[in-house]
């Protein structure tokens, strides 16, 4: 049986925010185009994940599992907007029993190698390629690089917030950029 050879994934909500919040947020914002809504949806996803943790069977990775919950939240979000506008609405009854939330989802996304056709498709999106490469950086490097490059903080502001010197900062930036460039070279350029 193939099933017995499937790698089992563990679930540990304590690290969710650090590990996945940026990924989920970025995934959401490309689909809803509004920061506040995206934040709410991400938060809802984490809460829903927490509630249905017992349904996690470890057949998909945590991230894939959370994304599948998030997808449903996004669909729900659009359905809500749609019905507010009084437009035609398609009702699909995913699951009325909230205890089972997360159960049906995993059956659909389960993949022993954690590399579904959809994952491959997602990887083609540049943003996610970058995200995967950011995962190769150390926590500190990723943090500094994100603040500097994506959030556009001033050098001084970052130094104050993280309590490092400017030359520390540039060394970290240098290492981050070198790693990212070679990672993207392999996977994207």
């Amino acid at each position: 049986m193939i099933n017995t050879e499937m790698p089992k994934h563990q679930i540990n909500p304590n690290k969710w925010i650090d590990l996945y919040s940026d990924y989920l947020f970025n995934y959401t914002i490309t689909r809803v185009r509004d920061r506040d809504t995206a934040q709410d949806l991400v938060q809802d996803t984490f809460f829903a994940g927490l509630k249905s943790m017992k349904n996690f069977k470890g057949e998909a990775s945590e991230r894939t599992w959370l994304i599948s919950i998030l997808k449903r939240k996004i669909i729900d979000h659009y359905r809500k907007i749609n019905s507010k506008k009084g437009k035609a609405e398609v009702r699909v009854n995913f699951s009325s029993d909230s205890d089972n939330e997360g159960d049906w989802i995993e059956q659909r996304v389960a993949d022993p190698f954690d590399k579904t056709a959809e994952d491959n498709l997602e990887n083609k999106e540049l943003g996610l390629a970058i995200h995967n490469c950011l995962g190769k950086l150390s926590e500190k490097q990723a943090q500094v690089f994100k603040m500097k490059t994506m959030l556009g903080y001033e050098t001084d502001a970052i130094c104050n917030e993280l309590n490092i010197t400017a030359s520390n900062l540039w060394v970290i930036i240098h290492r981050a950029r070198t790693t990212l460039a070679s990672c993207l070279e392999e996977n994207w350029f």
Binding site: P13, T149, T155, T178, F189
Partner: protein, 86 residues
């Protein structure tokens, strides 16, 4: 030759200036020294090219990240919820 005003810089310094210029934080004089360095240093030319490419990709990607404060808010909400569930 005084070390400070030497127009020939090391690869380390070239890389540093190159990084700074990705964020528009390099002075004109530094950029001139970098350009001179790139004339004769193939390795740094390659680094500089990749670095510029990375900047371009990052600008095109429209990646959005949670601000530190937003993430902290999310974290504290989540921890409350986590405590409730335990």
């Amino acid at each position: 030759m005084s070390k400070k005003n030497n127009i020939f810089i090391s690869c380390t310094e070239a890389a540093h200036t190159c990084n700074q210029s990705q964020y528009n934080e390099a002075s004109l004089w530094k950029k001139i020294k970098l350009t001179i360095h790139l004339l004769y240093c193939k390795a740094c030319r390659k680094y500089s090219k990749n670095n510029a490419k990375l900047t371009k990709v990052m600008n095109n990607s429209e990646l959005e990240y949670l601000k530190t404060s937003e993430k902290d808010a999310l974290k504290s909400n989540f921890e409350k919820e986590l405590a409730k569930n335990n």
